[in-house]
């Protein structure tokens, strides 16, 4: 093809005349996107969100967000004639009386699970590779905002069908809101329009779930994409890759096509799950009543860590003013707010704390390999362990029932593990990182095993090492030193100005610990191998 087809040329000219789109496309058609499997994780979340919008819109056409009482007259026999809320009746109606309704409802639910999961693994990738560093701190903060909003979006959506299981989640939400000191009771009455459960909460959650939160999500996702586009994607260290370039495939045509296919894959897998993996069979639970509950009630997975922390907590409660009020139910307040607070605040502050400790104000466009910043990686794994224990213990009744372990033993285990586990994880991860660094250093200085056994003139057998392939070597050599702030005393024994205070000394100490490279890469001894090949006697490692 030598000239563009008439149709495309015509439209392009029309648009360029009016928008000047040409100069935008000139800059962006061949925008490079570096390739690495881990860069695809965030896309899973993005495409799940698109699927959520599509399927969610479909569901709103039939769902009635009302708590008015109706008698069920749909086609699900076991519930016929039973009084229930209009919301639950319409959710049943979508499942049994709308063609494709059950499928779309199940895809919607699976997509919600995958949305949060995709965001979380994407966030872990960004954390462990240091891709949140300057200039990307703002996008990191937007991402944390997205994750927090997604949890609320999930919570509000989970409550809408108004079945017995969703009501249990709502009840816990209400109990948690009540526990907020001073204003908890008022927030609860305002949110629910009076006493729990009232008649307003479903329609209010509906508005939050389909308009307010997704609107903000959409705006933030757009901002997230624009910033990524403007700042260009980070790349893994490798041959020809520097802080000043991007090596990869161009947006048009390769990345575009790949992204399109990836969306279809995500959608396809969600459709597969929605078809064959039953999720949230609301018809089995029956309508909500605050008087009943089914044993083994479990929230969606992303709420599991809050459920676990509520289960682990010890029964603390204080009354500040004795009999006249000031009740602080620590057994609710602490588990509901503290773990979430630690995780979210810690994530938000990390880029800035790291900058403060290392004094590193440079731009970073080459991603770190997790092993090359062992303290960061260890902190990350300590956090994962903290979250993971809470999450696991959110299902301690299932664990207890399926593995025949005493229920209370699982709780007692969790109460200890939540403090000990992260510490162990920290040290184990640290050792693993150093071990992997040592392996890298060995490859750089001694090469890789070639699989060729050579007999030496003295009868000794050795395995010949060859230098690693260029791209592998470049990948390994991508290790960058972590700056350390100046904290040591000068020749006259006087520390620099900033390091004299208590905080200054602590900062200098942390900076040394964080930045010290314990396994520096050494220069290779490539010539040795050539020499061996030529028949000379020389010690080979």
């Amino acid at each position: 093809m030598d000239t563009p087809p008439k149709a495309i040329a015509g439209v392009s000219t029309f648009l360029d005349d009016r928008l000047g789109a040409g100069s935008f496309l000139k800059r962006n058609l061949r925008k490079m996107f570096p390739d690495h499997w881990s860069f695809l994780l965030g896309e899973i979340a993005l495409y799940s969100f698109v699927v959520l919008l599509l399927t969610g819109t479909f569901l709103t056409f039939w769902f009635k967000p009302s708590m008015g009482h109706v008698m069920y007259e749909g086609s699900y026999e076991p519930l016929k004639g039973i009084m229930m809320s209009e919301a639950y009746a319409s959710a049943l109606n979508i499942s049994f009386d709308v063609r494709g309704g059950l499928l779309i409802r199940q895809i919607h639910h699976w997509a919600a699970l995958l949305f949060v999961a995709g965001m979380m693994v994407h966030m872990l990738r960004v954390f462990f590779t240091g891709a949140y560093r300057k200039p990307r701190e703002l996008n990191w903060l937007i991402g944390i905002g997205l994750l927090t909003l997604a949890l609320f979006e999930g919570l509000t959506g989970y409550s809408l069908p108004d079945d017995l299981l969703s009501g249990a989640g709502l009840r816990i939400t209400q109990g948690v809101i009540l526990s907020i000191p001073l204003i908890g009771t008022y927030i609860q009455f305002f949110l629910f329009g009076g006493e729990y459960p009232g008649e307003d909460i479903i329609s209010r959650f509906f508005t939050l779930h389909i308009l307010l939160i997704p609107g903000i999500l959409l705006a933030l996702i757009t901002a997230h994409m624009i910033l990524m586009w403007v700042q260009k994607h980070t790349q893994m260290p490798g041959k020809g890759r520097t802080e000043k370039n991007v090596v990869g495939a161009p947006f048009y045509p390769a990345f575009m096509a790949k992204a399109g296919a990836y969306f279809l894959f995500t959608f396809g897998v969600l459709a597969l799950l929605g078809t064959f993996a039953q999720i949230n069979p609301i018809w089995l639970f029956g309508p909500y009543t605050p008087a009943d509950i089914s044993a083994g009630s479990q929230p969606d997975w992303y709420m599991g860590f809050l459920e676990g922390s509520l289960r682990l907590m010890v029964p603390w409660e204080i009354n500040l003013f004795g009999t006249s009020g000031g009740t602080i139910p620590l057994s609710v307040l602490i588990p509901a707010l503290v773990p979430l607070g630690i995780i979210m605040t810690g994530l938000a502050l990390y880029p800035f704390l790291e900058q403060w400790v290392t004094g590193d104000r440079r731009e970073h466009h080459i991603a770190d390999r997790p092993r090359n910043n062992p303290h960061r990686t260890s902190i990350g794994f300590a956090a994962i362990t903290f979250y993971g224990i809470l999450w696991l213990l959110g299902a301690n009744d299932e664990i207890s029932a399926n593995f025949h372990i005493g229920l209370y033993e699982t709780t007692m285990f969790g109460r200890v593990a939540i403090f000990v586990g992260p510490v162990i994880a920290y040290f184990v991860t640290y050792r693993i990182c150093l071990g992997l660094q040592r392996k890298d250093a060995e490859i750089v200085s001694h090469g890789v095993e070639s699989g060729v056994i050579k007999r030496m003139p003295n009868g000794e057998y050795i395995e010949v090492h060859t230098p690693p392939a260029d791209d592998i070597l470049a990948h390994l050599r991508g290790k960058k030193e972590i700056p350390i702030i100046e904290g040591g005393a000068d020749r006259e024994g006087i520390p620099p100005k900033g390091a004299r205070s208590l905080i200054g000394r602590l900062r200098a100490k942390m900076s040394r610990a964080y930045g010290t490279d314990r396994i520096p890469l050494e220069e290779g001894h490539g010539e040795e191998h050539v020499a061996v090949g030529a028949g000379e006697r020389k010690e080979v490692h």
């Binding site: 063609r99 494709g100 109990g175 609860q188 396809g268 009740t327 602080i328 229920l407 690693p468």
Partner: protein, 361 residues
């Protein structure tokens, strides 16, 4: 062409070769003659394997087409209305949709990987910071504009503008006031304390059947009965606070925590609403007399005033004073003497207060 060479560095010594090496030049010299001139970093695929891939991609697209047709056909053919029909429709629609999406995705991916060139193109990256001239210009323009506007010079303007904005900023919050009534003391009472229409004490009603409970007939050693207040059997707001569990004990089983004056013939009524976050504490273990809330596993000893024996709940389940009316049905003698359900700021140590009151009386 067989693969004789394996991936290895150029300067590897000695070279490893498997089988017979191929001729170093292409046998058909003009094999690659028709390829367009490649840009740097663009490496075209081998045309033979690209042609093979083309067939595979076309096949995948054809499958996607057929599955898409199948989806539309399934919508028309399979109706819903019963559980079996819904299930069939779900599998047909979902299966065809899945196949169409996955086949299309696999086709495009194969296209990109086997037919499009391999790319390793380089784009320059520039620091995000704008150059100092630009910054200086923006700074000057900002200052000029600020001075032109008079915002800096006219203090009165600035202050009255802020003044004007303040109430408008508060207005949305004020508007939200009618979202709900104020709590008042609603959380302190349940419908058990309200008078019935005929002035008689309120009966305990079995949840589900809606029948009142004759004390003489109630015998559930080992089980618990879920009980709702007469007249409020379907009022969710009332049930969220007033639902009870009813148990019968042998006299020697009851310990000091349980108020015997509030029992009738070994029958005890506790609030079913967990004092942790309000789930119904619905599980009962007969041998230990333990009531367990399935949400967070708060465990209460039913034989000892439902005091907490394990889990996050900090307070016992409140006990309801019960008795019988003239017809022998179980009734509530009074409301709970403490607020039921989860704790809240205004609650205070209501148990202590209740004990003091009882001692005085």
């Amino acid at each position: 062409m067989t693969e004789n060479t394996i991936d290895q560095p150029e300067d590897r010594v000695p070279k490893r070769v498997i089988g017979t090496p191929p001729p170093t030049e292409a046998i058909l010299k003009d094999e690659r003659a028709h390829e367009p001139e490649a840009l740097p970093g663009v490496q075209y695929q081998d045309p033979v394997s690209a042609r093979k891939a083309e067939k595979a991609v076309a096949l995948l697209f054809a499958i996607a087409f057929l599955a898409g047709i199948g989806f539309i056909a399934s919508y028309v053919i399979f109706q819903v209305g019963t559980i079996e029909k819904t299930s069939t429709s779900n599998f047909a629609l979902g299966g065809t949709l899945t196949l169409a999406l996955l086949a299309l995705a696999a086709g495009i991916t194969t296209w990109v990987r086997k037919i499009m060139p391999k790319y390793s193109m380089i784009q320059e990256r520039h620091p995000m910071v704008s150059d100092s001239d630009t910054r200086e210009y923006v700074k000057e323009t900002f200052l000029a504009g600020a001075n032109e506007s008079g915002f800096v010079k006219h203090k009165l303007l600035r202050r009255t503008l802020l003044l004007a904005a303040a109430p408008l900023g508060l207005a949305p919050l004020v508007l939200l006031k009618d979202l709900g009534p104020l709590p008042g003391n609603k959380l302190r009472h349940t419908v058990w304390g309200e008078a019935t229409k005929n002035g008689k004490p309120r009966r305990l009603i079995t949840e589900g059947t809606g029948q009142p409970i004759r004390a003489a007939d109630f015998n559930s050693p080992g089980g618990i009965l879920s009980v709702v207040p007469e007249g409020y059997e379907h009022d969710l707001n009332a049930l969220a606070k007033a639902t009870l569990i009813l148990l019968k004990f042998r006299p020697e089983e009851l310990k000091s925590g349980t108020n015997l004056n509030w029992t009738h013939d070994g029958i005890v009524a506790y609030s079913k609403i967990c004092t942790h976050v309000g789930c119904p504490a619905a599980l009962y273990e007969q041998t230990t007399h333990h009531i367990l809330c399935p949400c967070h596993q708060s465990t209460f000893d039913a034989s000892d005033g439902a005091k907490v024996v394990f889990g996050p709940a900090a307070r016992p389940l409140p006990q309801l004073p019960i008795g019988i009316d003239e017809e022998g049905f179980l009734v509530a003698k009074a409301d709970f003497n403490v607020p039921v359900g989860p704790s809240f700021w205004e609650r205070g140590d209501a148990e202590h207060e209740a004990r003091e009151k009882a001692e005085k009386a």
